[in-house]
């Protein structure tokens, strides 16, 4: 076995001679004209921006925004049965569920029990979507709302009513070809 020549896999870099001052200036001039053409073409193309507060950036269908709680459309009962699986799945520990029994007089959900308290602390939430995966009744899903800033931390604790309500302004959904 012949010893391997360590220099055998070295590829020699081919360096062209650096252009002289005149050739360099000539090349720079040509490249400058090309660059000027490129920037001018951007004016003709027009801007590619969203005028944000007026014009919202559309999201993809699977975008994970603020959570939504759902009701059955026919009966109006809450889908959530207060099983706390979402709270157990939550890695950020931001969901708090307190369950209570449904009674014939006070029927809130379709199951035996319902969530008397359902709170999500959005200042802790990392929007991973595990709650949505954990939920056996599709009662909680990730919505499309992404404008979630507020002035105090306590305002970011979303209660059951807030999560059940439709967002005031719907986030635009991205079209197929966008």
């Amino acid at each position: 076995m012949t010893p391997r020549d360590p220099a055998s896999d070295v590829i020699e870099v081919i360096r062209h001679p650096a252009p002289g001052p005149v050739a360099g200036a000539y090349r720079a001039f040509g490249a400058t004209l090309k660059g000027l053409k490129t920037t001018f073409a951007r004016i003709i193309e027009g801007p590619h921006v969203y005028q944000y507060p007026e014009e919202k950036v559309p999201v993809y269908p699977r975008f994970r925004g603020r959570h939504k709680l759902h009701r059955f459309e026919d009966t109006g009962l809450e889908k959530c049965v207060g099983c706390s699986l979402c709270a157990a799945a939550c890695p950020a520990d931001c969901i708090r569920v307190v369950a209570a029994e449904n009674t014939p007089e006070n029927r809130v959900s379709a199951g035996e029990r319902y969530a008397a308290v359902y709170e999500i602390n959005l200042s802790r939430c990392i929007f991973c979507g595990y709650c949505e995966v954990a939920c056996p009744f599709d009662a909680i899903t990730m919505g499309h709302e992404y404008e979630l800033s507020d002035y105090t931390r306590s305002d970011l604790i979303f209660t059951q009513e807030m999560l059940l309500a439709e967002p005031i302004e719907r986030t635009p959904l991205r079209a197929e070809d966008e």
């Binding site: 001052p21 005149v22 360099g24 200036a25 400058t32 660059g35 000027l36 490129t38 920037t39 001018f40 951007r42 004016i43 193309e45 027009g46 801007p47 590619h48 921006v49 005028q51």
Partner: protein, 339 residues
């Protein structure tokens, strides 16, 4: 024999004061326009709108910025040399505005029976006057950088001074070609000499050299190493805030207008239009301003296009390429004119 005074100071003193005020106010009114124009055009070239929130189409943005800067608390670093620190921005803005006074906006017109030249003053040394004052403007940079008492400001100032000195040579030499062709240093004389053909045609090389050197002289991209926002944080005026900061920015834009005016006068025939149709005298200043706008647009366009040079590239380009080319251009022009 016409004395010097009779040739150049044919106006009474009050006309000269009014002229000075009008030019000063017009240019100062133009500065915010140039600033918003630059930001809008730069935005368009980068695929965005530029400022569009303050006022209609964002046109009041510079006004908002001026108000913001003017109402800021004046401060200075504890290490600053107080007097020089305060006087440096004033020097910068003074030299820039003084150079404006010799840009001719039109010929001598008769308002009533009073002949009035549509320029600040028609000095017999023309371009030299501009170079004299851009020489003084080094002090605005050097003193500003040194008096701030900050090493980065000083570094920026040193870079600025070195760059300005290197490129002023080429800029001056490129104008000498025009001066030789015209046979006069008076700027109105040079404009009158362009009745047949604008000097941009016979002096194309000189024009290109002048423009490149001017980019360096006005600290504009791609030669904005003096400011180098991303490296030096505005270089020599890092330590300035509020009104002095605004003064430096204004001086920079005024310098740009001066260079645009100089290029218009020396190469684009000042207030002349091709074919020399007879136009009323009040159109002349508008023609000059329109031609200056072309140059300002070019400045902005180049800023949007080219990345900043490395410092050794800047120096090598100035001394090894631009200076020999300018000298060669001067030599050829001189031979052509003499023979």
């Amino acid at each position: 024999m016409i004395t010097y005074a009779a040739q150049f100071f044919f106006e009474p003193w009050w006309v000269q004061i009014v002229k000075a005020l009008v030019i000063f106010l017009v240019i100062f009114g133009l500065l915010p326009v140039v600033i918003i124009y630059e930001r809008k055009l730069l935005g368009r070239m980068q695929g965005r709108f530029g400022p569009n929130r303050v006022g209609p189409f964002g046109l009041l943005q510079p006004v908002a910025e001026i108000i913001k800067l003017a109402t800021k608390e004046p401060f200075r670093p504890a290490t600053a040399a107080t007097f020089l620190y305060q006087i440096a921005p004033a020097i910068a803005i003074l030299t820039a505005v003084t150079s404006l006074s010799i840009i001719p906006f039109g010929d001598v017109v008769h308002i009533g029976s009073q002949p009035v030249g549509l320029y600040g003053i028609d000095v017999s040394v023309g371009p030299l006057f501009v170079f004299a004052f851009s020489g003084i403007s080094f002090y605005g940079i050097m003193l500003g950088g040194w008096a701030s008492g900050s090493k980065y400001s000083l570094l920026g100032a040193m870079r600025g001074a070195a760059q300005l000195i290197s490129y002023e040579v080429s800029q001056g030499l490129s104008l000498v070609g025009v001066v030789i062709t015209a046979g006069t240093l008076s700027l109105t004389g040079i404009v009158h000499g362009q009745g047949g053909i604008w000097y941009i045609v016979p002096q194309l090389a000189g024009f290109l050299i002048f423009m490149v050197a001017s980019f360096a002289e006005t600290n504009r991209a791609p030669f904005d190493l003096v400011e180098a926002d991303s490296e030096l944080v505005q270089g020599y005026y890092t330590e300035y805030g509020g009104t002095p900061f605004a003064a430096y920015t204004f001086a920079e834009y005024a310098n740009m207008i001066v260079v645009a005016g100089l290029a218009t006068t020396m190469f684009l025939g000042g207030w002349l239009i091709p074919g020399n149709p007879h136009v009323p005298a009040w159109v002349d200043p508008l023609i000059v301003l329109a031609k200056m706008a072309i140059f300002v647009t070019l400045f902005i366009w180049v800023r949007a296009t080219l990345p900043r040079l490395r410092y050794d590239q800047l120096m090598a380009f100035g001394w090894k390429v631009l200076l020999p080319l300018a000298t060669l251009n001067l030599l050829v022009t001189a031979i052509v004119v003499v023979t």
